[in-house]
């Protein structure tokens, strides 16, 4: 059995920052593994650890060489090997939209032929929340989105992913999804482990295979985006907080009259 985990190195913005052209000035960015992907990696490693037969966990990322440090940390936590897709054409692409990423990942899926693909629900930086399910559609897999519980035995023994999906309003849906499938993993599904020192040492010699567009049988048209960023700006924020003095009753009365003044509630 093979598990493919899509992981992304995301940019985290410092509290104070400036915008340069269409992005946050890189001076104010730090990079780390996408939080949702941490949970996806943990689910994949737990699958492998619970299995009697060999389960290979492969991670795939679209990212520059810098992202290898982040990928290594996933390898240190138990991922067996990694694929990193990048080249000059991707670097030159103005914006990688969901469709572009899916074309690249689709080609990797064709090479790797996984039984199950785990992806974070969304990326912390660009936040489209679409890559996992769009990939499922492209490769013809079943899919389950926003999975917050996964029955590992079902995946390993029955070829079925029995999942809980988190819906709005505190409702959980229980779904059975036949493999092969893509699951987008929600935070909180598990408790991601820390890499151990031995894991870190072993990760130094695990493979991170670089792949270019041509390695994947693609050309620059694969990263031609139909989506263009037109502007990025920081909205003006207005802070207009009122603190109501007094005990709870007095505060509630003051709040009620303030709300009525704003037109909330019946006269």
């Amino acid at each position: 059995m093979k598990v493919l985990v899509t992981v992304k190195e995301v940019a985290e913005v410092e509290d104070d920052f400036e915008i340069a052209d269409l992005d946050v000035d890189p001076r104010y960015l730090e990079y780390d593994l996408n939080e949702w992907d941490e949970y996806a990696v943990e689910s994949a490693v737990q699958l492998a650890e619970a299995a009697d037969e060999e389960v290979e966990v492969v991670s795939v990322t679209i990212g520059p060489e810098r992202s290898e440090e982040t990928i290594r940390m996933a390898l240190a936590k138990g991922v067996d090997r990694a694929v990193r897709v990048w080249d000059d054409d991707i670097e030159a692409a103005e914006f990688l939209d969901v469709a572009s990423k899916v074309r690249l990942l689709e080609a990797v899926v064709a090479e790797e032929d996984p039984d199950i693909v785990l992806s974070g629900v969304q990326a912390h930086d660009t936040g489209f929340g679409a890559t996992g399910v769009a990939l499922a559609d492209a490769i013809g897999f079943e899919w389950g989105a926003v999975v917050n519980a996964l029955d590992i035995e079902g995946v390993l023994n029955d070829g079925v992913a029995r999942v809980h999906r988190e819906l709005e309003g505190g409702i959980e849906e229980l779904t059975e999804i036949d493999l092969p499938a893509v699951l987008t993993i929600q935070t909180g599904i598990n408790e991601p482990r820390y890499a151990s020192l031995r894991g870190i040492r072993q990760a130094q010699s695990k493979e991170i295979a670089p792949k270019t567009l041509s390695d994947l049988g693609l050309d620059f048209s694969a990263v031609e985006s139909e989506l263009f960023l037109t502007d990025m700006y920081e909205p003006e924020t207005e802070s207009d907080a009122t603190y109501f003095e007094g005990d709870a009753g007095e505060q509630a009365a003051a709040l009620a009259s303030a709300l009525r003044e704003k037109g909330v509630g019946a006269e």
Binding site: R72, M73, A76, Y194, A195, S196, L197, R198, I200, R201
Partner: protein, 381 residues
């Protein structure tokens, strides 16, 4: 400027280890610090976490399941664990002293008996050199291990034993001849051999660490528990302590860095005279001094570790690093409290504990005065 990276030539592996241990320190160790200090209770869950990360086998050879870290990695781990909480770092480094002694001087049987389990975190190790009347001068010790057939019979009292209550395996130094100061020998004494644990000391800082005395009253151990030849114990202790000293220096750096970071955050937030106090020159210059001291101390630690890893004699550099870094930790935590003003004097702020914790670093594992003696020997004789 990323101070922690400055001047370093860390490998990718070392960098990754530093990052993971820092994350563990911030997420798992620091949140336990206040209660552990208040209640004088060691955070055992944190210890189990250290074990999961392979840190309790840091200095154990790989063949016994350990990580066998180089000295630079050892220093990085000590710095980051201390960034979370000094008492945890101290407990870990003493455990590592004990595993180092067993790995270096123990027989094959002893290594197989103790090291795999100690690598997994328990039993916890102790290192019993100091006595009530023999601190900076261990040769003055009065604990005696008298040979009696296939056994040694131990009598005496040890003092300032870290992990005294938690620990189960004691590396003990005792004279085999009470009248011969050069007869100090190293032994391995399991707690179930029957020594008594004294009362827990109530301390200014490092309160989560259980510091006790140990009382040996006709405690019998098999002769094969002798780790060094008779009379070779003290040089063995000094050898192990030289490496350990780099770790203690690194802990002082981690403690100073944690106080610096707390003060930095506070100075940006605290507003006086119509702006954050980090805009006021007298405060800014404090940060200049603190950052310079931390940077210098860290580089001294790295250089001492490099010398050790390169097989050079690191004694002088290790003593300089321990002396400078521990005094810097006292200075930096002091200024961190000052920057917090009255708030820094309360237990509501972390710097209050860090200030109390810092003082021990100039005292234990060789006082600043002893470090200066070692440095003077290195540069004069």
């Amino acid at each position: 400027m990323a101070i922690a990276d400055a001047g370093s030539s860390l490998t990718d592996e070392q960098r990754a280890i530093r990052d993971v241990v820092r994350e563990f320190a911030v997420e798992e160790i620091r949140p336990t610090a206040r209660e552990a200090d208040e209640t004088e209770t060691f955070p055992e869950d944190v210890w189990d976490g250290l074990s999961d990360l392979d840190l309790t086998g840091l200095t154990v050879p790989e063949e016994y399941g350990g990580f066998d870290a180089d000295r630079t990695t050892y220093a990085l781990v000590n710095e980051e664990v201390a960034y979370g909480q000094l008492a945890v770092a101290t407990a870990l480094s003493v455990h590592c002293l004990a595993t180092s002694c067993i790995a270096e001087f123990g027989s094959e049987d002893q290594k197989e008996t103790w090291l795999p389990e100690m690598t997994r975190g328990r039993p916890v190790g102790m290192f019993a050199l100091s006595e009530p009347d023999a601190g900076s001068n261990p040769a003055q010790m009065s604990t005696v291990a008298r040979r009696d057939g296939d056994e040694y019979v131990i009598n005496g009292k040890k003092q300032w034993i870290t992990n005294g209550q938690r620990g189960e395996v004691c590396i003990l130094f005792a004279k085999t001849d009470p009248d011969d100061p050069s007869s100090v020998t190293q032994f391995l004494v399991p707690k179930d051999a029957g020594f008594e644990v004294g009362k827990k000391e109530h301390k200014l800082g490092l309160r989560a660490s259980d510091t006790t005395g140990l009382l040996f009253d006709d405690v019998r151990i098999p002769a094969e528990n002798r780790l060094t030849e008779e009379g070779k114990g003290l040089s063995a202790a000094f050898h192990i302590l030289t490496g350990g000293r780099v770790g203690i220096a690194a802990q002082a750096v981690g403690l100073a860095q944690s106080a610096f970071d707390e003060a930095r955050e506070y100075a940006h937030e605290r507003e006086q005279f119509d702006g954050p106090i980090s805009d006021i020159q007298s405060v800014r210059h404090k940060f200049s001094d603190m950052a310079t001291q931390i940077h210098a101390a860290r580089l001294m630690v790295r250089e001492a570790a490099r010398q050790d890893d390169a097989g050079e004699d690191p004694r002088t550099a290790a003593a300089m690093a321990k002396y400078f870094a521990s005094e810097a930790a006292v200075d930096v935590t002091n200024e961190a409290v000052q920057i917090h003003g009255g708030y820094g004097y309360t237990t509501d702020f972390e710097v209050e504990r860090m200030y109390r914790d810092s003082k021990i670093t100039t005292i234990y594992e060789g006082t600043s005065e002893i470090q200066k003696d070692i440095i003077a020997r290195g540069v004069l004789d």
